[in-house]
C-alpha cells in the first residue's frame, strides 16, 4: 500500500467487500473571484476513503484543503466530477457525517452541554439517550465539570474538544476534521491528537483529517495525502505503517521520522 513518493496518486484499491466511505473522481472546484474572474481552488482530484480508515490531508495554506472537506461534507457542489458517499451520490449534507470545523463554531448563547446536544435537537434523537451520550463524551474529554458553562468560559483547547464531542454525538459513520487543533499551542495539540487517536480507535470509525501539521497527520492516520499548492491536487498518497495504539512515544520511532522526512521531501519537492 505504500505509494510511490513523487507524484502519482495511489491506484484505487481492488473492489472491496465493503463500499468506500467516500469516493471522489475527477472533482474540481472554482470560486467566483473579483470582477468576473474565477479562482481555481481545487483539483481535478480523486479521493478514496475506505470505510474504517483514518485519512489525513496535508498541504500548504490556501491549497484547497477546506474546499475539499466542504465538498466531502456536501456543503459545496463541485464544478465537475462525481462524488459518492457509502455508494450513493453525494449531493447534500448527511446526518451520518460529523464535522469539526476549522473555527470551533460553538453557540455562545448555549451551554457546553446544549452545544454538544445540538445534533440531537436537529435530528430529533431520543432526548434521554442523547443526553447520556453527551455526558459520556464530555466525561471522556475531561469537560464534564464545564457541561453547564458557556463556551466563552473555556480555553481554546477545551472549545475544540467540545466541538469534537458535538461532532461525535450522533455517532457518525464518518468524521470530518478541518484543522481541529490548528489554533492551539504545540503541547495542547499533541495531547488532543492522542486523545482523538484513542477515541477514534475505540469507536472504530472512518475519519478524514485536514491539517498542516505533518506530525499530527502521521500520528493519527492510516494514510496521509499530500496536496500541491493551489489549485490543490493530490501529489502523493502515503501509507502510515506504524503500530496502533499510538501514544506520546510514537513520534520517537525511527519509522515515524522516516515517514516525516518522506512527506517533507514531497512537500518541498526535494528528490528522495
Amino acid at each position: 500500500m505504500i505509494a510511490a513518493a513523487g507524484g502519482l496518486v495511489a491506484a484505487p484499491p481492488p473492489a472491496a467487500a465493503e463500499v468506500a466511505a467516500i469516493d471522489l473522481r475527477g472533482v474540481s472546484k472554482h470560486y467566483p473571484g473579483a470582477a468576473g474572474t474565477s479562482v481555481h481552488a481545487l483539483g481535478p482530484i480523486d479521493l478514496h476513503i475506505p470505510t474504517g480508515s483514518f485519512v489525513a490531508v496535508v498541504g500548504p495554506s490556501g491549497c484547497g484543503k477546506s474546499t475539499l472537506l466542504r465538498l466531502v461534507a456536501g456543503l459545496e457542489m463541485p464544478d465537475g466530477g462525481t462524488m459518492m458517499r457509502y455508494g450513493t451520490p453525494l449531493d447534500a449534507p448527511s446526518h451520518e457525517v460529523g464535522i469539526v470545523f476549522q473555527e470551533h463554531v460553538l453557540f455562545p448563547w448555549n451551554t457546553v452541554l446544549e452545544n454538544v446536544l445540538l445534533p440531537a435537537d436537529v435530528l430529533a434523537l431520543p432526548k434521554a439517550a442523547a443526553r447520556e451520550r453527551a455526558l459520556r463524551l464530555l466525561e471522556m474529554t475531561g469537560l464534564i465539570a464545564f457541561a453547564n458553562h458557556r463556551p466563552q468560559m473555556l480555553s481554546g483547547g477545551m472549545r475544540q474538544r467540545a466541538a469534537l464531542c458535538r461532532a461525535l454525538l450522533a455517532d457518525p459513520r464518518l468524521l470530518l476534521l478541518d484543522e481541529p487543533f490548528g489554533a492551539l499551542d504545540a503541547l495542547t495539540r499533541e495531547e488532543l491528537s492522542l486523545e482523538l487517536s484513542g477515541l477514534w480507535q475505540d469507536l472504530g470509525r472512518t475519519a478524514f483529517l485536514i491539517t498542516h501539521d505533518i506530525e499530527e497527520a502521521i500520528l493519527l492516520s492510516d494514510r496521509v495525502l499530500v496536496m500541491s499548492p493551489r489549485p490543490g491536487r493530490i501529489r502523493a498518497d502515503i501509507a502510515i505503517d506504524l503500530p496502533r495504539p499510538r501514544n506520546a512515544d510514537t513520534p520517537a520511532l525511527p519509522r515515524f521520522q522516516e515517514l516525516k522526512k518522506q512527506i517533507r521531501d514531497i512537500i518541498f519537492d526535494r528528490r528522495a
Binding site: 456543503l75 449534507p93 463554531v105 453557540f107 466563552q152
Partner: protein, 253 residues
C-alpha cells in the same frame, strides 16, 4: 485597594455633582436676573408646582405611559412577522421595503391630524402615531439581526441537515436578539415623542395635552414639570429595556 475604591467613588459622584451644579446655576441665574416664572421658572418653583399638581401630573403621566407602551408593544408585534418575512423572502423584501421606507419617510407630525380625522377622538389615533414613529428602528434592526448569523454557524446547521425552522430557533433568533434590543432602545424614546405628538394634535389628557394647556395659560412651571416627567419617563423606559436585555442576552460580555 483603598485608593481605587475611593477613586471609583469619586467617579460615581462626579456626574451627579455636575448635574446638581447645573441646577444650582439655573436657580441662581433665575433669582439674580429676576426672570419671571412664566418665561423660565426656577427649579424650586417647578418642584413646588409639581407637588401642588401631583395628582394631575400622575394621572396624565399614566395616560401617556399607557399610549406609549401599547403603541410600542404593537410596533414590536408588527415588526416581528414583517422582519421574518423580509429576511426570508427576497420578493417580500423588494415589495415591502419601499413601502415601509416610504411610511418611515412621511413626517409623522404632518399626518397626525389625518390619523385623528380617520380614527376619531379615542386613544387609538395616538397609539397609531406611536406605532408609526417607532416601528421602523425595531424592524430595521431586527432584519439586520436575522441576517447576521455567521456563515460558519450556518454551515454547521446545514451540515446537520437543519430545517429553516430549526435554523431560526437555534441560530438566527439568538443572533438577532442583541440587534432587536438596540432597535427597541432607539424606538422606545421615539414612542414617547409619538404619544406627545398625538396629544398635541387632539387630546383631553396626557402629558402632551397638559403641556399644551399650561403654556396657553402661562402656567410655565407646570409645563416644565410635565416636560421633566416626560424626560424621566423616556429615560426610565430606556433603562427598563436595557435591564431586560441584560437578562435575556446574557452571553455577550
Amino acid at each position: 485597594m483603598k485608593s481605587s475604591s475611593s477613586s471609583r467613588f469619586a467617579d460615581r459622584a462626579t456626574i451627579p455633582a455636575v448635574y446638581l451644579a447645573l441646577l444650582v446655576a439655573w436657580e441662581v441665574s433665575v433669582r439674580v436676573f429676576a426672570i419671571p416664572a412664566w418665561i423660565l421658572p426656577a427649579p424650586t418653583e417647578i418642584g413646588r408646582t409639581a407637588l401642588k399638581w401631583a395628582p394631575e401630573l400622575g394621572f396624565n403621566s399614566l395616560v401617556t405611559l399607557r399610549e406609549t407602551l401599547v403603541g410600542f408593544g404593537l410596533a414590536i408585534a408588527l415588526s416581528l412577522p414583517l422582519a421574518v418575512l423580509i429576511a426570508l423572502n427576497a420578493t417580500a423584501r423588494r415589495l415591502l421595503y419601499p413601502i415601509l421606507l416610504g411610511l418611515q419617510s412621511v413626517p409623522k407630525v404632518a399626518v397626525a391630524p389625518l390619523i385623528i380625522l380617520w380614527l376619531g377622538l379615542s386613544e387609538w389615533p395616538k397609539i397609531v402615531i406611536v406605532i408609526l414613529v417607532c416601528f421602523f428602528p425595531i424592524l430595521v434592526n431586527l432584519i439586520a439581526g436575522l441576517e447576521a448569523a455567521p456563515r460558519t454557524m450556518l454551515d454547521l446547521m446545514r451540515s446537520l441537515g437543519a430545517s429553516q425552522h430549526m435554523i431560526f430557533r437555534r441560530l438566527r433568533i439568538p443572533v438577532a436578539l442583541p440587534h432587536f434590543f438596540t432597535g427597541c432602545k432607539v424606538a422606545v424614546t421615539f414612542a414617547v415623542i409619538g404619544s406627545v405628538i398625538g396629544e398635541f394634535v387632539a387630546a383631553q389628557e396626557g402629558l402632551g395635552y397638559l403641556i399644551l394647556i399650561s403654556t396657553s395659560q402661562s402656567q410655565t412651571p407646570l409645563a416644565f414639570a410635565a416636560i421633566a416627567l416626560l424626560t424621566l419617563l423616556s429615560i426610565a423606559l430606556f433603562h427598563g429595556i436595557e435591564w431586560i436585555e441584560r437578562r435575556v442576552v446574557d452571553w455577550t460580555p
